[in-house]
Symmetry: C2
Subunit: 330 residues, 2 copies
């Protein structure tokens, strides 16, 4: 063997420098083994989710690398939150173009490090590969719930109230702004909407309230109305949403006031990463109190009914018709 | 809501048509929830691995879509095998270019279905996204081992024998053939080498033998000598490999006979997806017998020594020097 024999390969060097410092969990084995090893918590079930984001599709190629890393992790944590699951850790598959230099990687790793710490979700393993295409960040997250307590999509019953967390539509409006839309918003309001697109806020603080009170839940990633339609379909129910009760940020309210057509973006655009859930009417006060105690704003926006389909009503009780119900890249 | 209100989005239709039929495990929830749910087996630990393959980097864009699917799953199963872990299931993140039409997807899903069944590794969940780049298939696999029994990389001790499964170098030679190399092989031998590149053979049949007898193990994906160097580094030992004992297929032996320079491709090329392990000398006969009972060929190719570094010796006991020890895309 020559002088190369004991040196690390390029990928190993990259992993040792940028990612091993994030992998302090014992089961990550310092990223120096083929796989990660974790002991499942006692009396728990495991909740698994994988979601990828692609440069030019789910984020802008010029976006801050740290924000890209955080978004990739957060869109997965948002699913765990909606299922009532606590994160145990995640695997990262990172496909990098030649333009991803050390500065990019350092910023990416620093963003990821901050979110690993904040959400107590350690990096357990993964791989890094070259691609002739755009940066592609695939995350697979593993979480745990007490046995039998995962909150399903398929649990909504007629009479249940429909709740959402936070505010709806900000991210889709923020994306529209980045693509050139304008609603005469001042810079602070515009910045708020853009930031909501760039960095989702997974509602992990709500997991205990969801497990205690929700009959069904999912995260809103492809648009409120379309995602509610999915929840209704698997639950075998219908829903009525009062558009006027859908919580809007000050910025989104201003945009809709300036241009009523923006309401369709709000209600059917993607990337909210809020929790949508249904709660039996007798449990609603308990849910509201638990959410308030957890510091998560929740709003009831409608009700579950027998039947199929989602109707969205305006202030006069008239059905609002949308051009499309949900965002899809396909 | 208009006529779209109860229709599935493009991604949902694609998942329902091509992937839901593969997700028959109860925990996959028919791919109709945000996440998968599994109960960890009692008294087990979980072994987790994620690895992605990219068109034009890890496979040829013109490769059969079914083979691409199977390779993506198998490279991950190969890691589980080396750790002594049984597959529980996997998550798939599939980034597709616009050229991936229904025929491509149908073939991809059929290849994946066959391997899910063969390796008893169900699809649990995942996502499908568009990419302006090449097809990128990210798999995250989850397996289980009896508590405390995962076979680590960091367990080799001086005196241990070094074993490999199967034959070494076929895939790297097959890749070289596809790139235009020629060693005057007949079509059957060439086809064997090409197939070894296209479709790895994860050695899951060996997991019980590895757990019972191996002091350390990893899968050979980046080249035998380089991967052995990694195992030695984390174990704090050195190794001596006898090149003449490294098991070669008839095709690889013919290539090396025609061109001695091909030996470097064999010993340092990637994509073998065989298991490399170390076994204490007193356990070697037991390991050989257990491997034979499992139907997996194993060969001892060298020994672990005190020190650092890997030396590879020819038939005369002289050190063979390589231009590079391991393959890296970086």
């Amino acid at each position: 063997m020559g002088p190369e024999s004991d040196s690390l390969s390029g990928e190993d060097r990259l992993i040792a420098r940028f990612f091993a410092p994030l992998a302090r969990a014992p089961g990550a084995l310092g990223l120096a083994d083929d796989a990660a090893l974790i002991a499942p918590p006692p009396d728990c079930e495991l909740v698994l989710k994988a979601d990828a984001i692609v440069g030019g599709v789910h984020f802008f190629v010029a976006d801050d690398a740290g924000d890209v890393a955080r978004k990739a992790l957060r869109v997965n944590l948002s699913d765990l939150a909606a299922k009532g699951a606590s994160p145990l850790g995640f695997l990262l598959s990172l496909a990098l173009p030649a333009t991803a230099d050390e500065h990019w990687l350092a910023a990416f790793a620093e963003g990821l490090r901050a979110d690993c710490a904040h959400y107590r979700c350690p990096l357990l393993g993964g791989d890094t590969v070259r691609t002739p295409g755009p940066t592609t960040v695939s995350v697979a997250v593993i979480g745990s719930v007490p046995k039998g307590r995962m909150v399903r999509r398929a649990g909504a019953r007629p009479g249940d109230l429909v709740f959402v967390t936070g505010t709806i539509g900000d991210a889709a409006l923020g994306l529209a702004l980045r693509r050139g839309a304008t609603w005469a918003l001042d810079e602070a309001l515009s910045a708020h909407l853009r930031a909501r697109y760039t960095l989702p806020q997974p509602r992990l603080a709500l997991i205990e309230a969801l497990r205690a009170y929700a009959s069904a839940a999912m995260d809103v990633s492809d648009g409120l109305i379309g995602d509610l339609a999915k929840l209704c379909r698997v639950s075998g129910v219908a829903a009525v949403v009062r558009a006027g009760r859908v919580p809007l940020s000050a910025a989104a309210a201003r945009a809709v006031a300036a241009d009523p057509a923006a309401l369709e973006i709000v209600l059917t655009g993607g990337d909210d990463y809020e929790v949508l859930c249904t709660v039996p009417p007798g449990q609603a006060d308990g849910f509201r109190a638990a959410a308030a105690a957890a510091g998560v704003a929740v709003s009831d926006i409608g009700t579950i009914e027998p039947g199929a389909n989602v109707r969205c009503l305006d202030a006069d009780g008239k059905a609002i018709l949308f051009k499309r119900a949900a965002y899809s890249h396909f």
